[in-house]
C-alpha cells in the first residue's frame, strides 16, 4: 500500500495560480470554488522586500481533526493516507470546517464541505495530481514515501522541513521546505 505524501518548496512559488485552476478543471469545479489557494504576504520595507507565498490545500493529516469530529464517518482516511469525503454520508453539518485548522474546506453544490482530494482516483492510476503537474516551478512534488526510488526521499532529506500547525499534532502529509525568507 502506498504511503502518499507531498513536498512543497514554498520559496520556489511565484504566485501564478495555475495550481488553483488546474485543480478546478480537474474536478469540474465552478469558478468560485477552489481546493487550493496561495497565501501571499509582503514582508520588509522598501527597498528590502520579500514576498512570502504559501500554497495551501488539505494537508491530508494522518491524525485528521476533521475525521475525528465527523458525526457520520463521511470523512474517512484511505489506507494510502488520503483523506476523502464520502458525499453519500455527509449531512452537511460543517463540523469538519470548524475542526480543520487549515481553512481548506469549501462547501460544494451538494452542500458537502469538499477539499483537495490529492487527486485520489488519479494517483491510484499512477498519474500526478493536477496541481503538481501543471506547476512550472516544480513547487510541489508528490509521491509514495515507501517507494525507495521516489525523488521525495532526497528532497525531504535535503531541506529543512516544516509542517502546518505542528502544535496541533495533526501530522500532515504535506511537508513544506522551511522558508528562507524573513
Amino acid at each position: 500500500m502506498p504511503n502518499y505524501v507531498m513536498f512543497i518548496d514554498q520559496d520556489k512559488c511565484t504566485g501564478c495560480n495555475a495550481c488553483r485552476i488546474a485543480c478546478q478543471t480537474q474536478w469540474g469545479l465552478p469558478p468560485e470554488m477552489n481546493y487550493n489557494f496561495l497565501i501571499e504576504q509582503e514582508r520588509g520595507k522598501y527597498p528590502n522586500v520579500e514576498r512570502l507565498i504559501i500554497p495551501m490545500q488539505c494537508q491530508h493529516c494522518d491524525n485528521p481533526p476533521c475525521l475525528t469530529v465527523c458525526p457520520t464517518g463521511a470523512t474517512y482516511k484511505r489506507d494510502d493516507g488520503i483523506v476523502l469525503v464520502d458525499p453519500k454520508k455527509c449531512i452537511g453539518c460543517k463540523y469538519c470546517m470548524i475542526a480543520c485548522p487549515y481553512n481548506v474546506r469549501i462547501i460544494n453544490e451538494q452542500g458537502v464541505p469538499e477539499k483537495c482530494r490529492f487527486c485520489a482516483e488519479y494517483v491510484t492510476n499512477g498519474e500526478t495530481p493536477a496541481c503538481v503537474s501543471t506547476c512550472m516551478n516544480d513547487v510541489r512534488v508528490f509521491g509514495d514515501l515507501d517507494d525507495p526510488n521516489s525523488p521525495l526521499h532526497d528532497l525531504l532529506k535535503e531541506h529543512e522541513l516544516m509542517q502546518m500547525r505542528e502544535d496541533l499534532k495533526t501530522r500532515p502529509r504535506i511537508y513544506y521546505a522551511q522558508s528562507k525568507r524573513g
Partner: protein, 730 residues
C-alpha cells in the same frame, strides 16, 4: 472528473445561451449528459494554447464532446509539460458567455447588431469591398492583427494590391526586434540552464509567463545560478531572485550605460570578442566614455557601487552570464526605449556571450512546405503602406512587416484606409487612447474577426465574423522556436479537439467566403488538412504522427560555438552603430536620452504597468475562473509605494482619482513596499468597456486610458510609460 452537477450544468448552459443567438449543441439534457459522461471515452488531442503569444503546446482532454481540461505538452519547448493559469482559463473560454455565436451586422450607431447568415455576410462584405476598391484602389485595405497567428490574409492583400498588414507589435515590443535585427542580425535568446548569472531588467518571466522558462530558471537557481532582477516593481520573478534592485522608471538606459562604462574601464569586457565580432565599438566609446557609474547612479537611483558590483559579476561570470534581451517591459515604453534595447545588445556583446553556454543564442529554425498555389488570376500592383512604416519621409526605420497600429484613425481620416479588417485584434483596448481609437468606425467598411465581443468589434465593426475557439479547429503546423534558447526547432500544430459549439468558423473558411464573394476564384484552394500534409511533407513527418505526439523535436542545430561566428548584418558583425540610423541623419550609437516626462509634484506619479501572472493583456478579463482569482486577490488595485501613500493619506483599498492629460478615472489602491516611490503600477489586464463582456465590464482601469496614441519616430512604438498622472484621494 467529478460528476457535473445539475447547477453547474445549468450555469454552463445559461452562460452560452446568454448571448444573442441560440446555441445548437450545448442545449442538451442534463440527464443525458450525465449518463453519457460516465461511459464516454476520454480523448486526448494536441493543440497550441491561445492565452498569449507563447503558444504553449497543450493536450486537450475531451469527454463526450465536452472539454474537461488541458495539460501542458511535455515535449513542447515553451510548456515542457506545464501551463499557467491563463492557459487553463482560456481553454475553458469555449464555454465563455462573452463569445459571439454567429455573424453580426451593425444596425445603428448605438452598437446594436443583428444576426445574419454567413452567406449574407460574405456577400455584403464582398460587394462593399468591390465598390470601395473600384473607386479608391485596393491599397485602401488595412489588415490589423495581433501578428504571428495567421498566414492567409497576405495572399488576399497581394491580389487586391494592399501592403498595409499591421501587427500589434509597436504597442508591445517593437524596439527590441527592430534594434536586434539592425545590430545583431536577429533575435538572440537566453540559455538559462547553464548561466551562472542571470540579469533581468524589465523582464518578468513569472508575470508574462513562459512555463518552460520558469522551470529552467528555477532549476538553474537550484544549481547555484544567481538571479538579479532590476525592476521598479517587486515583480513575481523578484520573488525568487537573489536580489531585487528597484530602478527609477525610465532610467534603465543610464543603468546600462553605467554597466558598459564599468565593463570597459575596468577591463572586464571580452576584448577578443569585441575586436573580432563588433563593429562600431570606438564610436560607441567616444560618445559614452564620460558616462560612468556615478553619472548613471545619479540618474537611475541605483548606487554607483551597486552598478559596478553588477558589472563585475557580469564580467566574472562571462560568458556564462547574460542580460536577458527583454520583452514588453521596456521595448515600447520610453522615449529612450530604442537606446535601452541597443545597450542590451552592447552589454551582451561586451561580455562576449553570443553562442556561449549560459549566454545567448539565435533561434533554431526549420522550414515547412506549403500547398501548391491554386490562384493564377490577376494581381494588382503593390500599394503604398497606409501607416507609413518603412516609407521614406514617414517612418523609414519602422519595420514594414510590423506596421504601426496605433494611428489607424488618422489613416482613415486622410483617406489612406477605407476598409479595415481586424483579426483577433482589439486596438480599442490594447492600443493607447481608446476615445481616439473609437474613430475607427468612420472607415467605409470595418470587419472584425474576433472570438468574443471585444471593444473594437462592439464600437467600430460594421460586420463581426466570429472565429471559433482554438480548440475547435485544426491549423497548419508551426515551427516552434524563439523566446528562450533551445538547440532544436520543434514542429507543433493545433488539431480539432471540439466541434464548434455554435456558428463560428475558422479564419481560412472566413477568408474563403469573403474572397469568393469578392470575386477571387479559388485563392485558397485547399483544406486545412491538405495544408497540414503539404507543410509536413519536406520534414518527412506524417500528420498522424504529429497528432499522436502533439509536438515533434527536430535535430539540434544551434549549439555553443567558439569561433566562426557570423551575424546577419551588413558587416557580419554586431554593429554597435546602426547604419540605417546614420543614413536617416541620426547618431548610430546609443547615448543618454532622458525620459520624455518626469513626475515633479507631491501627487504626481509615472504610470507604469505589467502583466499579472493569471491574466493576459486585456483578452482574459471575461474569464470567470481568472476573474475569481482577481476578486480574491484584489487584482484590479493600483499599486503605490507606502511612503508616497502615507504622504497623500492613502491607505490600503482607498479609492483614488487618477488623472492624465487625456483621462480621469477612479481606482482602489494597493499600498506596497514593493514599488519604486516615483511610480504607480497598474496590471495591464483590466478596464473592459464592452458592455457585452459582462464579467470583465467596468472592472478596473487600463493604462491605455491615460496615454496618447504617440509614435516613436524610429521604431514606431507607443512610449507606453511616458505618462504622468496626478492622484488624489477619493
Amino acid at each position: 472528473m467529478q460528476a457535473m452537477t445539475r447547477r453547474s450544468f445549468l450555469k454552463a448552459g445559461a452562460a452560452t445561451t446568454a448571448t444573442l443567438a441560440i446555441t445548437k449543441n450545448l442545449k442538451m439534457d442534463f440527464n443525458v449528459y450525465a449518463q453519457d459522461a460516465k461511459s464516454a471515452e476520454l480523448i486526448k488531442i494536441p493543440s497550441l494554447c491561445n492565452g498569449c503569444s507563447t503558444y504553449c503546446g497543450v493536450w486537450a482532454y475531451v469527454k463526450n464532446g465536452r472539454l474537461w481540461k488541458i495539460e501542458g505538452n511535455e515535449v513542447h519547448m515553451k510548456s515542457r509539460g506545464h501551463l499557467c493559469a491563463r492557459g487553463h482559463g482560456i481553454a475553458q473560454n469555449v464555454y465563455n458567455p462573452g463569445r459571439i455565436t454567429q455573424p453580426m451586422k451593425r444596425v445603428d450607431n448605438k452598437n446594436n447588431f443583428k444576426p445574419i447568415s454567413w452567406e449574407e455576410a460574405f456577400q455584403e462584405i464582398g460587394e462593399k469591398m468591390q465598390d470601395i476598391v473600384e473607386e479608391y484602389g485596393g491599397d485602401k485595405m488595412v489588415w490589423a492583427c495581433h501578428g504571428g497567428k495567421e498566414t492567409y490574409a497576405k495572399q488576399f492583400m497581394d491580389v487586391i494590391g494592399s501592403s498595409t498588414y499591421i501587427t500589434h507589435y509597436t504597442t508591445c515590443f517593437t524596439a527590441k526586434t527592430n534594434i536586434w535585427s539592425n545590430m545583431a542580425g536577429g533575435m538572440f535568446y537566453a540559455d538559462f540552464d547553464n548561466a551562472k548569472l542571470m540579469l533581468f531588467v524589465g523582464r518578468n518571466y513569472a508575470g508574462g509567463i513562459l512555463p518552460a522558462a520558469m522551470k529552467r530558471i528555477t532549476a538553474a537557481k537550484e544549481k547555484g545560478s544567481k538571479i538579479i532582477v532590476v525592476d521598479p516593481r517587486f515583480c513575481e520573478l523578484a520573488t525568487i531572485a537573489d536580489e531585487w534592485i528597484p530602478i527609477r522608471p525610465g532610467t534603465d538606459l543610464a543603468f546600462f550605460l553605467g554597466l558598459a562604462h564599468t565593463l570597459i574601464t575596468e577591463g572586464l569586457y571580452n576584448k577578443e570578442f569585441v575586436e573580432e565580432y563588433v563593429y562600431g565599438f570606438d564610436e560607441f566609446w567616444m560618445h559614452n566614455k564620460d558616462f560612468d557609474a556615478e553619472k548613471a547612479a545619479a540618474i537611475c537611483g541605483i548606487g554607483a557601487d551597486k552598478i559596478r558590483e553588477i558589472a563585475r559579476l557580469l564580467g566574472e561570470n562571462a560568458p556564462n552570464a547574460f542580460l536577458e534581451p527583454g520583452y514588453h517591459g521596456l521595448a515600447a515604453h520610453y522615449q529612450n526605449s530604442n537606446e535601452i534595447m541597443m545597450m542590451n545588445v552592447i552589454i551582451n556583446a561586451l561580455i562576449g556571450n553570443f553562442w556561449k553556454k549560459g549566454g545567448i543564442f539565435p533561434a533554431a529554425t526549420s522550414s515547412l512546405g506549403a500547398p501548391e498555389p491554386t490562384y493564377y488570376g490577376p494581381i494588382a500592383p503593390e500599394g503604398v503602406r497606409a501607416d507609413g512604416a518603412g516609407v521614406a519621409g514617414q517612418y523609414p526605420l519602422v519595420e514594414p512587416s510590423r506596421g504601426i497600429p496605433q494611428r489607424i484613425p488618422d489613416m482613415i481620416e486622410k483617406g489612406k484606409a477605407r476598409i479595415v479588417f481586424f483579426y483577433s485584434y482589439n486596438p480599442l483596448r490594447s492600443a493607447p487612447e481608446p476615445e481616439y481609437q473609437k474613430k475607427i468606425k468612420n472607415a467605409d467598411l470595418v470587419v472584425s474577426i474576433p472570438y468574443d465581443w471585444n471593444e473594437t468589434s462592439y464600437y467600430t465593426a460594421d460586420y463581426i465574423l466570429p472565429e471559433n475557439h482554438y480548440l475547435e479547429r485544426a491549423e497548419s503546423p508551426k515551427v516552434v522556436n524563439g523566446h528562450i534558447y533551445w538547440p532544436a526547432a520543434q514542429i507543433a500544430a493545433r488539431f480539432k479537439a471540439l466541434q464548434a459549439s455554435d456558428d463560428s468558423l475558422a479564419l481560412l473558411d472566413i477568408l474563403k467566403g469573403i474572397t469568393t464573394a469578392y470575386g477571387i476564384e479559388n485563392l485558397y484552394g485547399y483544406t486545412v488538412e491538405e495544408e497540414m500534409e503539404a507543410a509536413l511533407a519536406p520534414l518527412g513527418i506524417s500528420v498522424k504522427e504529429l497528432q499522436e505526439k502533439g509536438c515533434i523535436e527536430l535535430r539540434p542545430t544551434v549549439l555553443p560555438k567558439e569561433e566562426g561566428l557570423s551575424f546577419n548584418t551588413f558587416t557580419k558583425k554586431i554593429e554597435f552603430s546602426i547604419g540605417a540610423w546614420r543614413k536617416e541623419g541620426y547618431l548610430g550609437v546609443p547615448t543618454w536620452v532622458p525620459p520624455l516626462v518626469v513626475p515633479r509634484e507631491k501627487n504626481e506619479f509615472r504610470l507604469i504597468h505589467g502583466k499579472q501572472p493569471w491574466h493576459s493583456h486585456i483578452m482574459t478579463t471575461n474569464n470567470p475562473y481568472l476573474m475569481a482569482i482577481t476578486a480574491e486577490k484584489n487584482g484590479t488595485f493600483m499599486w503605490m509605494n507606502s511612503s508616497r501613500a502615507d504622504e497623500l493619506g492613502i491607505r490600503e483599498g482607498d479609492l483614488v482619482t487618477i488623472t492624465s492629460d487625456i483621462a480621469t478615472k477612479q481606482i482602489n489602491v494597493h499600498v506596497t513596499e514593493g514599488l519604486h516611490p516615483e511610480c504607480v503600477w497598474l496590471p495591464s489586464t483590466y478596464g473592459t468597456f464592452s458592455e457585452k463582456l459582462k464579467l470583465g465590464y467596468d472592472k478596473g482601469i487600463n493604462y491605455n486610458d491615460f496615454i496618447p496614441a504617440r509614435v516613436d519616430e524610429k521604431t514606431g512604438h507607443v512610449m507606453g510609460q511616458e505618462c504622468i498622472v496626478t492622484i488624489t484621494k477619493g
